[in-house]
Amino acid sequence: MAPNVGSTPSENWETQVRKGWLDLVILASLWKEKLYGLDIIRRLEAHSDLLLSEGTIYPILGRLKRDGLIDSEWVESDAGHPRKYYWLTPSGRRRAAAMARYTKTFFARIDSLIEPVLAKEER
């Protein structure tokens, strides 16, 4: 049997939640400019703790590309090795916008629901 990479009983809910947000934050990080893998990783590092191991980002980029949401191109760099740059396709832009809007509304609604829990904890 292949190694388990998905949800397992031992994998906690936090891991699951983090994984779920990766698509959105990756698309969002490409909103303004072309970036290569490590660029995206650095951005995620700076703004969130979503990334568990850095290597997981590359398969996700591959899948987003297969789904037509992003495109990529190898660019020679001064670093001595080429970098693979990614950018949003028009359909990726639409998806990122829709996901961002959905997230915003979603959290606004959830916020009011979890309010009592947080209020109680603070007390």
Partner: protein, 198 residues
């Protein structure tokens, strides 16, 4: 930028292991992946100034082991290919990959095995009927409720007769095709573990 030999060896060993773990993917995809991961390691290494073995171990650890990363590529790539393929082999590989990830995948894997096996058996029976009409049939009798195939029971009689030939030769492949269609359709939902970003 050149690195101490043992450090270079460690990078090569990591990439070799990743290549091995990616085995099932097409070679051009594999080399593309290795090129990208290699770039990642080298760039992280350069950013860290002098690259010691210790530093490299930390970089590789942050990246994740080849055994951790490779299945992520395979799950996605195999499922993606299966989704657009008519070949039972490719479809079943995608389903099999999925079946290692979720209970639904496993149910579909079993369904696939049953569907394809039944389809193949039906087609084979239809074909065999042509060559051994008296032994192959759809039998009904005291000891056989409705058995399609070869039977060693003189009390049973063949209810379909020659109809078994067109039925098997058309029905078998049709069932195989239907199985492929159903499995491919279900593969569209193979990313059920990303509910928050659907």
């Amino acid at each position: 930028m050149s690195h101490p030999e043992e450090v270079q060896q460690k990078i090569d060993a990591y990439l070799m292991q990743l290549r091995r773990s990616l085995g099932e993917l097409p070679p051009d995809e594999v080399s593309e992946i290795l090129k990208e991961i290699r770039g990642h390691i080298l760039e992280r290494a350069e950013a860290s100034g002098e690259l010691t073995e210790e530093r490299l171990v930390a970089i590789l650890k942050a990246l994740g082991s080849p055994e951790q990363i490779a299945p992520l590529y395979q799950a996605d790539a195999l499922v993606a290919r299966a989704r657009s393929s008519l070949s039972p082999r490719v479809v079943m590989r995608g389903i099999h990959r999925w079946s290692t990830l979720s209970a639904w995948g496993f149910v579909l894997f079993v369904l696939g095995v049953v569907g394809y096996a039944t389809g193949a058996a039906l087609a084979l029976t239809g074909l065999l009927k042509i060559f051994a009409p008296s032994q192959v049939g759809a039998w009904v009798g005291p000891h056989a409720f409705f058995e399609i195939g070869v039977i060693n029971d003189p009390t049973a009689h063949d209810v379909l007769g020659w109809w078994l030939v067109p039925l098997g030769l058309v029905g078998g492949p049709a069932l195989i095709l239907a199985t492929t269609r159903v499995l491919r359709w279900t593969l569209r939902f193979a990313r059920i573990r990303r509910p928050t970003t659907a």
